[in-house]
């Protein structure tokens, strides 16, 4: 589904990713772990198309298409959706408005017409209930004045509505208490199916107890230094990253 080959990325002249390889197939859940500053967030940002990241070498293909040639919104419409670590506040723009605009943009790309209002409201209500969110969320401005937990739930709500093919989660667990984490995990787990893949970036093993990955990759200094199954997380929990850093040194 998604193939990253020998990816080199610089930010303001400084190389962050130094030859990263990663293949994600349909139905798989991948977790990228690593110490701070290893380039974890850079990877998801580059796949999503954020400005300020310069790809100096390597390729990213999604279903055989060159992702780097696609505009940000094209990537999103094709199903590459990023759950932000720090969702931005947009004053005055209601959540419901953003959701509708995003959903219709996707439907248009798929050759479907605008979603009829009753159908849309029914869909949203269902997803809100699933995420244990109050309907008043819809009338509030996007992320404005939201607590950390509310922001993250809102990210997952958008995923549930937009049904991406590749769910990317950038430190979705940061700033969440255990109850909020469970709700977020429930949302992500509900998205799991044989056609859909998940790529999550995290610093902590905690998240992986709730969203159990098929593959774990350890990212250190811009490269994946070790890959394994979920048991790798426990090893990291026990030994930290130092033993891997020493191993690669």
């Amino acid at each position: 589904m998604l193939v990253v080959k020998d990816l080199h990325v610089s930010v303001e002249g400084k190389e962050i990713l130094k030859g990263l390889d990663l293949t994600i197939n349909k139905g798989e859940v991948h977790a990228i772990m690593g110490p701070n500053g290893a380039g974890k967030s850079t990877l998801s940002s580059v796949i999503a198309g954020k400005d300020g990241y310069e790809v100096t070498a390597g390729t990213i293909t999604y279903k055989g298409e060159d992702v780097l040639e696609m505009a940000v919104e094209e990537r999103a419409r094709a199903g590459l959706l990023l759950g932000f670590q720090y969702p931005v506040e947009i004053p005055g723009v209601k959540n419901v408005y953003l959701l509708k605009a995003a959903l219709n943009a996707k439907r248009e790309a798929e050759g479907l017409g605008e979603i009829p209002a009753p159908e849309f409201m029914k869909l949203i209500r269902e997803k809100l209930a699933f995420m244990q969110m109050d309907a008043s969320f819809l009338q509030r401005a996007v992320n404005e004045g939201f607590s950390g937990g509310e922001k993250k739930r809102n990210e997952i709500l958008q995923m549930l509505v937009l049904e991406p093919k590749l769910v990317m989660l950038d430190e979705i667990d940061s700033g969440l208490d255990i109850d909020a984490l469970k709700v977020v995990a429930k949302g992500v787990n509900s998205l799991r199916n044989e056609d859909r893949a998940v790529l999550m970036v995290t610093h902590y093993q905690r998240l992986l107890e709730h969203i159990v990955p098929d593959h774990i990759h350890v990212l250190i200094d811009g490269r994946i230094v070790k890959s394994g199954d979920k048991s790798l997380a426990l090893e990291l929990e026990a030994h930290g990253y130092d033993w891997l850093q020493e191993e690669t040194a």
Partner: protein
Amino acid sequence: MASQEMEQLVQREYKQGFVTDIESDTIPPGLDESVIRFISAKKGEPEWMLEWRLDAYQQWLKMKAPSWAHLNYPDIDYQAISYFSAPKRPEDRPQSLDEVDPKLLETYEKLGIPLHERAALAGVAVDAVFDSVSVTTTFKKELSEAGVIFCSISDAIKDYPDLIKQYLGSVVPKADNYFTALNAAVFTDGSFVFVPEGVTCPMELSTYFRINAANTGQFERTLIICEKQAQVSYLEGCTAPQRDENQLHAAVVELVALEDAYIKYSTVQNWYPGDEDGKGGIYNFVTKRADCRGDRSKVSWTQVETGSAITWKYPSCILRGKDSVGEFYSVAVTNGRQQADTGTKMIHIGEGTKSTIVSKGISAGNSEQSYRGLVKIGPRAKGARNFTQCDSLLIGDRCGAHTFPYQEIGNATATVEHEATTSKIGEDQLFYCRQRGISEEDAVNMIVNGFCKDVFQELPMEFAVEAEALLNVTLEGAVG
């Protein structure tokens, strides 16, 4: 996002640029007493009105155009302007919509104002001003049953001379400033509204203004009076066709609110702004003022300004009555080479008076925009309060956004607060929306509309929809 991509988007065309080919009865350019006599005679005015005009003209001759605004435009040649233009057959004006020149109706269609639909479906009485003379008035009957007078100011001068004598120029004196003096001398038409004591006007009143004939200055004069406990909501929309030359528009609006009266005055202004090089466009010098004479009276100005090459406009409230309330909600958008110097004045005279100012300015392209406001608290305005919020959004790095809020506070029991911010559309906000699949242009519109939300929610429903659409058209591609 790539900035050249944004630059590309800064192309837009004026969607209302077309000229209606109706034979006009226009006098040659130039201004002297004979022109004023011509206008007055043409409108069949009484002698006292002519005297009033001539007096204004004499004062105008001694005055100078104001230069304090943050605006830059060549001197206006007042002798090159034609001061009267009326559609033909003025003596034989259509009595119903069916009789209206179909071309005129077509014009309104192009403007997106389906007159019959609007009138019939929305229950709005439209006093359409085409160039200078009122062409048709609908719903007059329903209004008159409620005791509301809604007619052209020309008719009012003839039919209600006592009201006109009492109120005309009582809020904005003839020689208040250079442009009001000119307007008083040569105004050709405008609206008159009188809502008697205790009456809530049964429908929203609406007037669409257009400047059509080339080289024609348009000088309307509007007067709205609400007696005790009366209420009215008045909508004013303006557009003008596209022309190379600059056209002058110097209007005067006077509102009088007596005890417990409430006047809501909403404007959507979309005069032709000139092309992207600054060629053509309307020079809009407008004086709008409300006098809250009665206790507990309230006036609310709401404006969405997207047009004109030059805007000079400060809708104001004189809060004379005890506990009277003034409000000003404004969205101003400038793009291309537009320049706007606009804001409000809240003059607190009476005890317990309150005012709220919410101004949202969006500058794009090479435009310059200034908010200029005055909050004055007089010595007798015990317990007066003002809250001002004034935000600017910049799109692109060739435009300017300025804030000049004057506060003159002469009472220790007054509370005055002013907040202002200037920012640009956040790259991170744009990225967030695009990462949800929303196109850049839609994302900008969404963010800008969100920025203006506080004002849009003050607009009457049908206007709000139009205002949003207008904003999107104006900003089409103005991403920076």
